[in-house]
């Protein structure tokens, strides 16, 4: 594993190098080499890392924070540095390189849904180190363990969920459930890792039924369109009806006002005239009668009979346009 740093390389081994030195100076050289060996045990843990120190194989310091530290060299102490905060990612259900090359093995991403539909699901899990000591020493391969835990929770969750929910509403719930349960499994294995996110990157129906799934999406879109159109119709209709109603109301008010005004006018005029009539009824009546006759009679044909004369009806009926003959004779 890339992040697992080996112990510091052994720089100096006092016994091996000291042999060829002259006898007389050996104690001094030996002392120097011993001092060098001791001093070279100083090391730095960078800011993005933490370290675990073991002494004779046993954990002496389970979590060494960034800074300058000192450790005795092999064979006494070893230092394992870890990039604890770095997120690592792993893919479950079809590897990304395979997908990129287009040679995905369909079975590797197939999951069985609760209503026995097959679905291709690809999930990306991100995780980081929580407990460096466990991360390093408890499991043979943390990533493999994590993959298994996530995959089994995913399979279990999908096997309890109908396909439509997986494709639509339940996605986030599935991610959360898988994350929680897989984390619990990992804690049970003391894997020392924290899953920070489970993300369903891809969930698609199998190619053999993909067109039918698309047809459903199309049908849903059609249904939404129909409803929208109907709402558009309603939205256009109601205001127009309100307008029509307002128009009816206004017309009625106008009619009412007009009718009353006209009546008032007529009544006022009549009252004025009637007042005058009351002063001289006979004369006024005669005048009104005669005036009216003056207006009417010029337009119409008139036959005037003497007080005892009889009417020759044929004269009237023969020709409406002919001027009446006072002699009673018929024109030739």
């Amino acid at each position: 594993m890339s992040i697992l740093m080996g112990p510091q390389p052994v720089v100096a081994d006092a016994d091996a190098i000291s042999t060829p030195a002259p006898k007389r100076r050996r104690p001094r050289i030996g002392a120097w080499l011993l001092a060098l060996w001791a001093v070279s045990g100083v090391y730095i843990v960078p800011a993005n890392q933490q370290a675990v120190v073991t002494r004779f194989g046993a954990v002496a310091n389970p979590r060494l924070l960034p800074g300058i530290h000192y450790a005795l060299h092999w064979p006494i102490e070893s230092v394992y540095k870890l990039k604890v905060h770095q997120l690592q990612r792993t893919v479950i259900g079809g590897d990304i390189p395979d997908v990129a090359l287009g040679r995905i093995n369909p079975a590797s991403s197939e999951f069985l849904s609760g209503d026995q539909n097959l679905l291709n699901v690809r999930v990306v899990a991100q995780y980081s180190v929580r407990e460096p000591k466990d991360y390093l020493f408890q499991t043979f391969n943390v990533e493999h363990v994590l993959k298994m835990a996530v995959e089994s929770e995913l399979a279990r969750r999908i096997a309890r969920t109908p396909v439509d929910d997986i494709l639509t509403t339940e996605k986030v719930a599935i991610q959360n459930d898988v994350l929680q349960n897989a984390q619990r499994t990992l804690d049970g294995y003391q894997a020392g890792a924290t899953i920070s996110s489970i993300n369903i990157e891809d969930v698609t129906p199998p190619a053999e039924a993909a067109d039918a799934f698309r047809a459903v999406a199309g049908a849903r879109a059609d249904a939404i369109r129909l409803v929208n159109e109907a709402e558009g119709y309603a939205n256009g209709l109601i205001p127009r009806a309100r307008g029509e109603a307002a128009q009816l109301g206004e017309e009625a008010e106008a009619y009412k006002d007009g009718k009353i005004n006209r009546a008032t006018g007529d009544a006022t005029r009549f009252t004025e005239v009637a007042d005058e009539y009351a002063k001289a009824p006979k004369v006024t009546a005669t005048r009104a009668y005669v005036e009216a006759m003056e207006q009417i009679l010029p337009k119409i044909k008139k036959v005037i009979l003497g007080s005892k004369g009889n009417l020759d009806v044929t004269l009237v009926r023969r020709d409406d346009n002919a001027a009446p003959n006072p002699n009673g004779g018929t024109p030739k």
Partner: protein, 294 residues
């Protein structure tokens, strides 16, 4: 002095050699099995510095949790449905003595685990319906208790025979056999078609409801407006009638005269022929002169 130093050196070298032969450190990731002429003497579990006799030797065993991840295999459920199941086994060496005597290495251990788990799983699945593994009904799919029992059984067997601790047995994938898939795809397509029809029908229903509601609302609005407008017109007519009545009743005979004359103006037009007697009120003056006016 030189000889003394030589002895000191020899003694130091001997001490180092002795330390090298009898001291050993055990790492966190491993067990040490101390053997004496090939016979296991004791297991060292704790990491750290330990001592042994120089003539004893050590076998190392990785104690970390391992995953055994066999190829998928087909199982038959109680209701005679075939399922392709991938499972994994989380295990670790627990008893190095037994492990070295009965198994030896990791790949051999995996073979043994495969036998134990496969037969356990196959027996367990034989007592379960497919629905207990795969079901959309909430609470129906309950594979966990079965797997817990299986884990316990496998653990007991593996520990006793091989010194292996089975930490967990889990199903990591459920699938259908290849030969069943085509019929499943056909069923999925049929289901989708039904759902598509349902969506369309529901959309139409909703749209029709909305349209009908709008039409009803429109009718309500317009008819209510008609009702009001007729009432208003009636009020106008009534008021006008009242005004006319009030005015005309002051002088009914004059009204009658004027109104009759007005109606003559409308009724009598140029198509009308009127026959007048010279005795008529209008012509009396014409025929009788001044006396006619009296």
């Amino acid at each position: 002095m030189t000889t003394k130093r030589k002895y000191t050196l020899a003694a130091a070298a001997f001490a180092l050699l002795l330390a090298y032969l009898s001291l050993y450190s055990v790492r966190e990731t491993e067990f040490a099995l101390v053997t004496q002429f090939g016979r296991p003497v004791r297991t060292v579990v704790n990491a750290g510095l330990h001592a042994k006799w120089p003539f004893q030797s050590i076998l190392w065993f990785d104690r970390r949790l391992r995953i055994y991840d066999p190829r998928p295999s087909e199982f038959l459920t109680r209701d005679k449905k075939n399922l392709v199941i991938e499972n994994y086994v989380a295990w670790r060496i627990d008893d190095p003595t037994r492990f070295v005597q009965s198994v030896g290495d990791v790949s051999a251990a995996e073979m043994r685990l495969h036998d134990i788990v496969w037969s356990g799983l196959s027996a367990a699945l034989g007592t379960q319906d497919l629905e207990s593994l795969v079901s959309a009904i909430p609470g129906k799919a309950q594979a966990a208790p079965m797997l817990d029992v299986l884990t316990t059984q496998a653990d007991r067997a593996a520990l006793e025979k091989y010194g292996i601790r089975v930490v967990d047995v889990r199903i990591k994938r459920l699938n259908l056999p290849e030969q069943n898939k085509q019929s499943v795809f056909a069923r999925m397509r049929a289901e989708r078609e039904r759902i598509a029809l349902q969506y369309r029908a529901e959309g139409e229903q909703q749209a029709l409801t909305i349209r009908a509601g709008a039409d009803r609302q429109k009718e309500e609005i317009v008819s209510a407006a008609y009702k009001d407008s007729e009432r208003i017109r009636g009020e106008g007519d009534a008021e006008a009638t009242r005004i006319y009545g009030q005015a005309y009743s002051k002088s009914p005979e004059f009204y009658k005269l004027l109104r009759t004359l007005d109606s003559y103006k409308k009724v009598l037009d140029d198509k009308t022929t009127i026959i007048l007697s010279s005795d008529s009120e209008l012509l009396k003056v014409l025929t009788r002169g001044e006396a006619g006016a009296r």
